[in-house]
């Protein structure tokens, strides 16, 4: 007879415990979901805040903000074409230099490197991504630019007679599109090479063995069987590096020379969208100036968003194939 109330009690206690844990589970779920929600909220907030601030410039200046190259604060002209041009050209130079190197090192690390060398070299290349951009800028100003001015630029222009092409003409000041491109190449390199290395390592063994069985040399195997298989992933890595290069601010601002002119020569100083903002934002004198700089930021935001989305999508298609 006496056991009955105890059983009830026990039952009641269990139910209470289940209720309590159901409640805390729910609370836990809500907290983690709220943390997760911060990410989309942040993206939307950034987009809204910047576009709202940029709206006066967009509505007043229209397309002239990207087509005009007349940036005159006093007169109220804000044409950022030279900055857009500089961003695209310096990033293009960076990719032209970095891509072959990055793929080369990815192939080296995934195919040829002795095992004991793989980790240290991979680590050193990854560390390139950890160096703060202001340190690259410092090095660029005091080491790279003097070397470019005294040796590389005269060599390209006079010794190789490339001065005949519009790309390498004009006086060698030092701070230039070329300097920015080289610094950006060093900075983009680790991003391209680490993604490339990962996708190269994801190429199935059978792919390699089939090529070797057909009589291919190791190099032919890599060229004809491994790289084509990993192609879209490598392109994704290059796009990722491009995204970095497009938005890089400090190092570029310190070495590009900051002159708002469009010049075909890589020896000439230039401007990028990011360095334009970095240089003028804190000195923006009137509302339209500020808004125009916000508009430049908005354009940069959209460009990098698109480039990164394509990059992620390409890398994702490769990793999805691997899973299948």
């Amino acid at each position: 007879m006496t056991s009955l109330p105890v059983e009830w009690l026990e039952k009641d206690r269990r139910k209470l415990r289940v209720d309590a844990s159901a409640f805390s589970d729910k609370a836990y779920e809500i907290v983690t979901a709220a943390c997760a929600l911060v990410v989309p909220t942040l993206v939307v907030a950034i987009a809204v805040a910047i576009f709202v601030a940029a709206w006066p410039a967009f509505s007043k200046l229209g397309f002239s903000i990207i087509t005009s190259s007349d940036w005159d604060v006093a007169a109220g002209h804000f044409g950022a074409a030279p900055a857009l041009f500089g961003t695209l050209v310096s990033s293009a130079v960076a990719l032209i230099i970095a891509t072959p190197l990055a793929i080369g090192i990815a192939v080296f690390l995934s195919e040829f490197s002795p095992l004991w060398l793989r980790q240290p070299i991979g680590f050193l290349v990854d560390l390139l991504a950890a160096v703060p951009s202001v340190v690259y800028g410092l090095w660029g100003i005091f080491v790279l630019i003097p070397i470019l001015r005294q040796h590389v630029m005269p060599f390209l222009r006079d010794t190789l007679h490339l001065g005949a092409t519009p790309l390498f003409t004009g006086p060698a000041y030092g701070p230039s599109m070329l300097a920015a491109g080289i610094i950006l190449a060093i900075m983009a390199l680790p991003y391209i090479s680490s993604v490339s290395r990962e996708v190269l390592m994801a190429v199935p063994r059978s792919q390699r063995e089939a090529a070797l069985a057909l009589g291919a040399t190791r190099w032919e195997m890599i060229r004809d069987a491994v790289i084509p298989y990993a192609k879209s992933g490598i392109i994704g890595g290059i796009m990722l590096g491009l995204g970095r290069a497009l938005g890089e601010t400090m190092a570029v601002t310190m070495v590009i020379g900051n002159r708002a002119e469009i010049s075909a020569s890589l020896f000439a100083p230039g401007y990028t969208m990011a360095s334009l903002i970095a240089n003028q934002f804190s000195e923006a004198t009137n509302d339209l100036h500020l808004s125009a700089l916000m508009a430049v930021g908005a354009i940069l935001f959209v460009i990098t968003l698109i480039v990164n989305a394509i990059a992620r999508w390409l890398v994702w298609t490769v990793s999805r194939n691997r899973a299948a």
Binding site: S21, D25, A27, Y28, T32, C35, A36, L37, V38, V39, P40, L42, V43, A45, I46, A49, I50, A53, P100, L101, I105, F108, E111, F112, S113, I121, F123, L124, V125, L128, A130, V131, P132, V134, V135, L138, W139, V143, I186, L189, S194, W219, G243, L246, G247, M250, M254, A274, I277, F281, S282, L293, M294, L300, F301, T304, L305, V307, A309, R312
Partner: protein
Amino acid sequence: MIGLTYLCAVLATLPLLLILWHLIVKGASSISLAFFTHMPRPVGEPGGGMANAIVGTLILIGIASAIGLPIGIGAGLYLAEKKSTPLAHSVRFLADVLNGLPSIVMGIFAWQVLVRPIGHFSALAGGVALGAMMIPLVTRTTEEMLLVVPTSLREAALALGYPKWRTSISVVLRTALAGIVTGALVAVARIAGETAPLLFTALGNQFWSTSIREPIAALPLQIFTYATNAYEELHQLAWAGALVLISIVLVISLAARFATRSRFGAPVD
């Protein structure tokens, strides 16, 4: 052709070695105890240090971590547990997009939201900008680390009557702790050297300040100001500051490397 890939390996590691070498050659001579304990002196007076900038950077890292780490880890937990809800897919994608966001854009965003309405620059605005940059990084690494934890472990805990939330926190999260610490350290190392988001938020400060409502000095900002200045002595200080900054970043990166080595074999970056 194979030799060419060896050449690439040499060429790719060369810049890092060159940069480190120049930093040591040009910076080490200016580093002394005074560099860490003294304030900057006016140009012309010898000596002087970057005490305020070093402390400022530490404060900024602290604010950023206080924002970025809990939110990032929480979001990572969500992603690892609700793998394929629509929210999880969009969070994953948008976190990657945020990771690629130019830091200067984060800077003008923080200015628009936290400096413009308040009316003055502040350490808080700088810390929030850096914290916002940490969130997507920490989210993604935490998720990756949690996915490595075997399902059987989670199931064992649930079978023992653990509620779900305790399973997640004291079993799954604990097992992946080393990896999550690595992710956190990598994120800290990345934001420690950021300059662009601080230009219009923390602004920099010549004087001693530890208030989060005032503009604050930061090592990267100070390096930038000194490097683009005309005075030779300031260039010296910039090199020394850069050496200190990169030492901080490298030590954190190495710590991140070793935090995972013991547990997972292959390090993760």
